[in-house]
């Protein structure tokens, strides 16, 4: 009894390839969920994962701060600077905030210039952004040095709850690492932009993608500033 060939319906797509290539073809099936360049979609997904990392850090900080029975050191006094015979609360942190916001402003203008295909101005603005980033990290290094000299350690400090030091070093350290990585990333892209590495493409969208990362670093600082320093 010979088998009658059953016609395959047209709407069932059968992948011609097998193995890993077949797996990728089946999962993508020539469909795009996000109508943006793949690099931009991937950067957004990376930033989403980073959001969960910082979100978990801040939630952990909330947990140890609200469960300790020892008084939490007052950040307003801990981070005060002694200037002109008076203690100005949180001064260094406020300046760091303005520096980072300014870097976001120059980054946004770099993206604007990149879409106007003005690569020299875009690269210069990216270098300015990176310089703001270096300023920020230097001020953070100064702040860490000051606190370490005053006796703050991950396991204790002179003013109260021991968890203050561990959450402080963990959260600001991880953020500082992000700023440092961002400075390197922006510098690399700016140098490549000047050398004409992106000329074969129709656009300089890499600048916008690098900008997304940089704005995210600023965004995380907004949350750290509010929840750690001001709370």
């Amino acid at each position: 009894m010979s088998a009658v060939p059953v016609p395959v319906p047209h709407d069932i797509a059968v992948s011609p390839t097998i193995g890993w290539r077949g797996l990728v073809t089946d999962w993508s099936s020539d469909r795009e969920a996000f109508h943006v360049a793949w690099g931009k979609a991937m950067m957004w997904i990376f930033l989403l994962s980073d959001t969960f990392i910082f979100g978990s850090f801040l939630t952990g900080y909330m947990t140890v701060r609200s469960s300790t029975t020892v008084a939490w050191p007052n950040p307003s006094q801990v981070f005060a600077l002694h200037i002109g015979g008076a203690d100005v609360p949180l001064l260094l942190i406020a300046i760091m905030t303005f520096v980072l916001i300014s870097s976001s402003g120059t980054m946004a203008m770099a993206v604007n210039c990149a879409y106007g295909r003005d690569r020299v101005r875009a690269a210069v603005l990216m270098f300015v952004t990176a310089a703001f980033g270096v300023t920020f990290v230097s001020m953070q290094a100064f702040e860490w040095t000051k606190l370490i000299l005053e006796g703050v350690r991950p396991w204790g400090n002179p003013w109260g709850a021991a968890q203050f030091g561990s959450t402080f070093f963990m959260i600001t350290g991880f953020h500082g690492l992000h700023v440092t990585a961002g400075v390197i990333y922006l510098s690399v892209v700016a140098v490549r932009l000047l050398r004409g590495r992106y000329e074969h493409r129709a656009n300089y969208q890499i600048v916008e993608i690098a900008g997304l990362y940089w704005h995210f670093v600023d965004l995380v600082w907004v949350f750290i500033f509010a929840l750690f320093y001001l709370w």
Partner: protein, 104 residues
């Protein structure tokens, strides 16, 4: 303004947002400088924080001009963190109470 390949917006828009972020940062610093306390302090801190975050994400990161599919994919998953915050608030309160009972 928005093309298939990218986004270009007038530079004056960025300058306005930049100025607005400066104002909001000054205001949130003012909350500490003028020693606001209690619910007013926490409320103001959160309001200024969310306004700044919203401006950065919407304008600087161009999310306001992206398609809804991307906006939802980016903004909805972090809401899970609110569940974590809720769970950990309950956990922290419980830890705090047991510490008050046994370690003081």
């Amino acid at each position: 303004m928005t093309t298939a390949t990218g986004q270009q917006h007038p530079i004056s828009l960025y300058l306005k947002i930049w100025a607005l972020l400066f104002v909001l940062s000054t205001l949130s610093y003012g909350v500490d400088y003028f020693h606001f306390h209690g619910l007013l302090r926490w409320g103001l801190i959160l309001v200024f924080m969310l306004m700044k975050a919203g401006l950065i994400v919407a304008v600087f990161m161009h999310l306001a001009w992206e398609r809804l599919a991307l906006i939802c994919a980016i903004l909805l998953p972090p809401l899970c963190l609110l569940v974590l915050v809720g769970l950990m608030t309950a956990e922290a309160d419980y830890t705090h109470l047991t510490r008050l009972l046994f370690f003081r």
